[in-house]
Amino acid sequence: MSSFNDTPGAAPVSLPQWLRLQAQWHGPDVALRHKHLGIWQVQTWAQVADEVGRLAAGLQAHGFAAGATLAILSRPRPQALLAALAAQWLGGVASLFDPLQPGAEQRPLLAALQPEFVLAEGLEEVQRLHMAQLAPKVLIYLDRRGLSASEAFVEALDYAALLACHPVDEPGLQGPAQHTAFVFYREVGQAIEEQRLSHAELLREGQRLVEREALGRQEEALAARAFASAGQARYLLAPWLIAGFRLNFPENLATRDRDRRELGPTLVAGTRETYTRLHGYALERLPLPGSWARRLVDWALATPSGLFQRHLGHWLVRRSLRDVLGFSKTRSPLLVGDALAPETQAFFEVLGVNVRHWSDSAHWEVPVQPVNTITDDWTGRQSQLA
């Protein structure tokens, strides 16, 4: 199943190494899809590895070295993901921030962290940095639109321009597996807490998931909303690199439901919000109460008792409802983080989608040292414990 078996000699110990391995063994296979300009734009493993390599080179050229942190403020987009990998490629750390979080909550966080290297998606994100009085050493943007006006723009770098550099080949060897891959921050009252994920931990968790869910190359995964979360890194990114399946990005938040149906993912790693929202989405669109159609639907969705109800209900309602929601191919519906409300769990249960819960073993701690310098002993400890 997982390409772990067909790796020669030593197994990769970091995410970038897995990436390089996938590129070596399955270069032409599809690694990423992004719904953009009306169609699903495809990137192969080879292309992904190459782009990450170039990015790494670009970052290096601007002084990004092992141990540095790249703060990423972007919606789920391939570029954001590749940038994170590029940072790790150089032995650095990626720190993800969700731009959909209210700026008010994020501002103090960013202000306190004062990251030196920042990737911001576009104008809004850049403005958010400004409000946090951030003056990063290096500012990279994905979408230049409207930026020409803002003053921060002067020294900012275009993601596309970074790609011009020549790829660095020897990836991620600048550091043992205990190196931190991702770090997440949150503010609790006045204190700032951090959560560090080492390559080793990610790979271990990922490997566990891959084996438990028997994930293979043929999986289609949808990277939806909760991008900037540890769970996403654990249960989507790591397995993606290990099992070598396809990671898909919707066109944008407004179209994600349509996109999910188009794509028909086999692996869905969602949070409680994801499933709750979908449940609501379905409920508000079901036939109006009182109509014969609604009675039929309710009858079919009632926990099937008789053989008759099970089969007829399946063919008339459940089968198509599952398809409309984009779950008709889903093998591994995963829930990361908090548990689902019972009715939501039940709703998907009836559709034959039994959402499996993976508790996000989050270790939030108050940083031992100033956050913009790296310490690895903590994560090291973690890996020994496990």
Binding site: I39, G264, R285, L286, D323
Partner: protein
Amino acid sequence: MFYREAGQFSTRYAQDRRVFALRQDRHGLAALLLVAFVVVPWLGNDYWFSAILIPFLVLSLAGLGLNLLTGYAGQLSLGSAAFMAVGAFATYNFEVRVAGLPLLLSIVLGGLSAALVAVLFGLPSLRIKGFYLLVSTLAAQFFVTWALTRFSWFSNHSASGVISAPPLEVLGLNLDSPAGRYLLTLTIVVVLFWLGKNLVRSELGRNWMAVRDMDAAAAVIGIELAKTKLLAFAISGFYLGIAGALWAFAYLGTVEPHGFDLNRSFQILFIIIIGGLGSLLGNFLGAAFIVLFPVLLSNLVALLPGGLVDAGQVENLQKIIFGALIILFLIKEPEGLARLWQRFRQRARLWPLRY
């Protein structure tokens, strides 16, 4: 509820442009064609071929011809039958006057002649719109039938201007049998509908609809109204011409100019109103209705106890119901039967959700 769409997505624009984007639809169409080309000729009897299927196909084609002009390009026409007549008589003349000209080729040439005539009578559309255009198309209607009866040359000097079908032979195989004529018609209709589908989805098709929906805006964004309208007339004429040829030779066998009178034009207009303006499927639905409805009605009347409705009244009854239906459709479903189908399909794709 029969649609499973998950996993059907396009990674290239070509896939996205496909006429039938969904696998289920493609399979359905394939099955339909299989039935039409293999099962039907094998099972069908002569009555069905000659009295139902062939006229149905030909009228669908004629409907498409008018629909391109009226439903897509928004140019109202009451002269459809005239262009059919031109097609029929031109084909006939190519057959009798040019020795050894293959049948299909002379049919195409017939279509082209009809296209020419259509362009001629379409010229006024460059200056006039709406009802005013009716005059031009009616002029075509009356002038053509007059000319064809008046000058016996067109009917090769046959008495009373009746022309009769040449032997229907394509690539050496004889198609004079009902089944043969059915297959000939079916093939031509399928090809022309495929072409029509491409047309309406192409730049030209969009320009037509632009002119239909708001010609002032169309001009402002750089669409050449004259070219667009005239092409609509030409292509519509081409389709109607070929339909006329098939009507004459594959369906009736012999025909005179008055077989293509104003009522025929109305009939075709009704086809697209009932079937659906600006829809390809609609032409089939409308034609099926027009062909089957009288049959059904007369059968129904036959069922009634004798003398309740005498045969003479059936025709009047037909007229009344037809007229009433037209009004009903214009009020209730201006986009015709096709719209009903589309709506059902939309629901089916989203079932059990509402939107």
